[in-house]
Structures are given as C-alpha cells and as structure tokens.
C-alpha cells in the first residue's frame, strides 16, 4: 500500500516494443505490462492486421518522477516520426 504511485500508459507502434522496453528498464522501472492494440490518431489508422500496422499499449506503474522521465525520453525519441500517446494517472498499488 505505497502512497503516490502513478500509472503511465503508452500507446505506440508495435515495432518499437523492444526498443521502448529497453529504455523503460534503463530509466529504472521495476516492471511493465504490454498488450496488443489497434487504433487511429494523427498518424492515421493502424488496423492491427500485421506487425507494421499494429499498436501496443505499455503500462508502467511507478513514482511520478519515473513516469515523467519515461515520458520525456519517449517523447524526445519517437514523437516526431512515430505514433505516440502518453497518459499519466494516479493509482493505488495494493500489493
């Protein structure tokens, strides 16, 4: 029951999965969860039909600083050329 944890939700392109995860671990996260997704945004429709055309959703639970640091890094690296959505919301971790 730690206080002040945040949930960072990243939606981006499937081909970036391994790279993003390396960066997330590098920045000190102690866990992450990935699910497959599809969607539509500024970079057009991503139908999820094949890897080139699919999204992933990565969730990381951690401190405010960690979440901000990950956002800053991913924004800097990928925002210009890849589909990207970054969301933060507070959560209670119960274990």
């Amino acid at each position: 029951m730690e206080p002040d944890k945040y949930l960072l939700t990243i939606v981006s392109e499937s081909i970036l999965e391994d790279r993003m995860i390396d960066e997330i671990r590098e920045l000190g996260a102690n866990g992450y969860t990935v699910t497959d997704a599809r969607g539509w945004g500024k970079h057009g429709k991503r139908r999820g039909k094949w890897q080139q055309d699919s999204n992933i959703q990565i969730q990381v639970v951690g401190s405010r600083e960690l979440c901000e640091a990950i956002c800053a890094r991913l924004k800097d690296q990928y925002q210009a050329d890849f589909g990207l959505l970054l969301l933060i919301s507070p959560v209670e971790v119960k274990n």
Binding site: I15, G44, G48, K49, W50, Q51, Q52, S54, A80, D81
Partner: protein, 315 residues
C-alpha cells in the same frame, strides 16, 4: 496463355475488404503463412541448388546484382525531381522498388508451373540477394549529406535478421543440406501445399491491400503512374538481362518479375528503423495498393509475353 486461379483469391480478398465484409483472416494466421511461404521458397531453391553447380553463377550473379542496385538509383531522382517528393520519402520508395516481393515471385512461380515451364533453381538465391542492396542504397540516399545519425548496426541487423531474409537464407541452407535425398518427408507440407497456401495467403493480402487500394485517390496521379510505369521499365531491364545471360525463358520471367516487384515486408520494416522520417503510408500504399495488384494481374503475363517475344525473335 496460362490461367492461374490463385490470383482470383486476391481479388476475392479485395472485394471483401472494399465491401467491408466481416471476413477477417486473423493476424496470427497471416503471419504464420508468411513464415511458411518464405521457408518454402527458400527450401525449394535450396534443393534445386543442391542439384546444380555454383561456380558458373558468380559472374551472371554480379550482373544481376548490379542492375538491382541501379533500379533504386533510377527511382530516386525520378521521385524527387518529377514527383516533388521529399528526400526521405524518395529514398524510401526507391528502396521499396529496388527490393523484391516474395509473393509476387511466388505468383510467377505458380504461373510457370501452370504453363509447364522450368526455371533455374538459383533464382531463389537472387531473390535473397536482391533484397539487400536496394535497402542499403535507399538508406545511403536518405542519409547522404546529413548529420550521420544512421543506425547502421541496428539497420543491418534488421535487414539480415529481419524475417524475410533470415527465413529465405535459412530455408536455402536447410534445403541445400537436406538435398533431394532427405527432403522427401517435408515435401507434403513445403511443396504439395504450396499453391493452396499461397492462395489462402493471397486472400488475406487482398483484405489488407483493400484498405490501401481504397486510399488510392489520396496518392496523387504521379505516384500511381510511377507505381505502374516503374515496374514495367524494370521488367524490361530484367527481360533483356535474362536473355543476355542465357537464362531459360522461365528464369527470365522470374528475373523480370523480381525487378518489377516492390517489397512490402522487408523494406517497410527496414526503412521504418533506418529512415523513420519517411512516411510509411506512401511507400506501402504504392507498393501494396498499386504495384502488387498490377503485377499479379497484368505484369506477370505481360512480362512473360515480352520475354517470349524476345526469345522467339532473338533465340
């Protein structure tokens, strides 16, 4: 002329996609079938290679590669100056059109089988070899005169261990190692089912391509024209080169098809990593939405007709 029913499956898929049918082929099956096709093509080539001698292939091989490097070098200025496309987009498209499409190649192989013609087994080796230089040329074109932040390491690994090249080479080696003597038990899967599973795969490709075909008005006249004229031009190069090198009629058709085809698996993956600022919708749209259907419906028979003409005149 040989009629090849597998292309009808592509048409069926396109119609389903355009009509927003609820027909869906799950991604998992699409991916498994693409692994299968790459392996099967590789193994078939490997077995054929095991029966032939490699040494006399080196010189013609070099010629084929050289022309393969030429194609993106021709595409690039055309796209940049006539099409007015950005540097990165021109380079990426050049790489796509210099590279090759395994499924288009497979359709041409099926076409030859239907027509009862044989071909040189080492064409599959060229299928593998031709994937690579075009990608490298494309990246160099995109990066020329830029602050050198090219991730060559990542990109080359992407190319060689990207599934297309990796499975083709892996299949070649396995087919070569097994040879005609030990391949027997693998034949029912990798040879007998090839046509049927290609048909199934084309159905799925039709569904995927439908979305690109529907976006077609956004591509602009120039890009559509390019996506049709460029393949024919490349095929002409291939027909003359094949004939010049003394390939069989079947081998020449395959060479022309290789040159004419545009990648939509290996190149998109490699370009997304190496030239991320290029717009992938443009290159996949052109290669999958225009060139691929053009090639399988019109191109392959046309290239065959051209080759046949040359062989009957020149031969």
């Amino acid at each position: 002329m040989a009629f090849e029913p597998v292309v009808l499956f592509f048409l069926l898929g396109v119609i389903a996609g355009l009509a927003k049918s609820d027909l869906k082929i799950p991604t998992a099956v699409y991916e498994a079938l693409s692994v299968y096709l790459l392996l099967a093509i590789g193994i078939t080539g490997g077995v054929k290679l095991a029966e032939s001698t490699l040494l006399p292939l080196i010189l013609p091989g070099l010629a084929i590669l050289l022309v393969g490097c030429l194609i993106p070098l021709i595409c690039y200025p055309v796209l940049q100056y006539f099409g007015g496309l950005k540097r990165a987009d021109s380079a990426s498209l050049a790489a796509h059109y210099g590279s090759v499409s395994v499924v288009t190649f497979s359709v041409a192989v099926a076409f030859l089988a239907q027509a009862g013609l044989d071909y040189e087994g080492h064409m599959v080796v060229f299928l593998v070899l031709l994937e690579i230089p075009a990608l490298v040329v494309g990246i160099l074109l995109a990066r020329a005169g830029m602050a050198g932040k090219t991730r060559w390491g990542k990109t080359l690994r992407e190319v060689f261990f990207g599934k297309s090249i990796f499975l083709l080479i892996g299949g070649l080696i396995i087919g070569f190692a097994a040879g005609p003597d030990h391949i027997g038990p693998l034949e029912p899967l990798f040879f007998d089912l090839f046509k049927g599973l290609l048909a199934f795969f084309l159905l799925e490709m039709g569904l995927v391509a439908a979305a690109k075909i529907a976006d077609f008005r956004y591509y602009g006249k120039f890009l559509i024209g390019f996506a049709i004229v460029m393949p024919v031009f490349s095929a002409v190069l291939g027909v003359f080169l094949g004939w010049g090198l003394g390939l069989s009629l079947g081998g020449t058709l395959l060479l022309a098809t290789l040159y004419a085809s545009a990648s939509y698996i290996a190149a998109p993956a490699a370009m997304r990593i190496a030239v991320p600022e290029a717009n992938p919708a443009l290159s996949i749209g052109a290669s999958l939405g225009v060139t691929f259907p053009f090639n399988i419906f019109v191109g392959v028979p046309l290239y065959f007709w051209m080759a046949d003409l040359l062989y009957s005149m020149g031969g």
